[in-house]
Symmetry: C2
Subunit: 115 residues, 2 copies
């Protein structure tokens, strides 16, 4: 890994920090990824995000809503139905998800080759 | 966000899950990013990864070493010096860091515009 100019690197590091501050952590990207197929209800998101508790999912959805990635819609028929969907702003994460998916596939192939 | 074919999406979701399993969480990418400038000692990494405790950093470095992203070198002069550097395998994260940095810069501009 070639050593980069410090100023260039510091600004890149800050930008990476900013990104990870908003979408880092164990669950955020996984919850967003689960909604990329289309809108879902709470328990549908929980089922796809294997291992997440209801309390943690509820907090993650609140933060994602506050940061403008997720829209919460309450359908007032009986029984009331609450649905979550991605906002247009979440589309800006497209390249990042692509890079994550490509790296994940590459990493999985590497692990398989090493077995 | 157009609804994608479920099989294509499931395999992408699994790949994203695999990636986040290895490099997700609050600190991994930030610790790797801090080493992209070149090798560093423990306290140098801790200083750049603002907010990380010594105990957490020590665990993260052990996991990153185990997963093949970081190499630990012990220089046996007196006093002993321990240095960490990225492996060639960590280079495969280049596109991901680029996508993260670009998104972080875009997000920061959006936040500034909204103030």
């Amino acid at each position: 890994m070639a050593e980069r100019s410090t100023t260039e690197c510091t600004s890149k590091l800050n930008a990476i920090d900013d990104a990870l501050y908003v979408i880092g952590g164990k669950w955020k990207l996984r919850v967003i990824a689960s909604l990329r197929e289309g809108h879902k209800r709470f328990n549908e998101i929980q089922r796809v995000s294997v291992g997440i508790s209801a309390r943690v999912l509820s907090n993650e959805l609140k933060e994602l809503e506050m940061n403008g990635f997720v829209k919460r819609t309450v359908h007032t028929q009986t029984p009331v139905v609450v649905e979550y969907q991605l906002t247009d702003y979440a589309d800006t994460l497209g390249d990042l998800f692509l890079a994550l998916a490509e790296w994940g596939e590459m990493h999985r192939d590497k692990i398989r080759r090493e077995r």
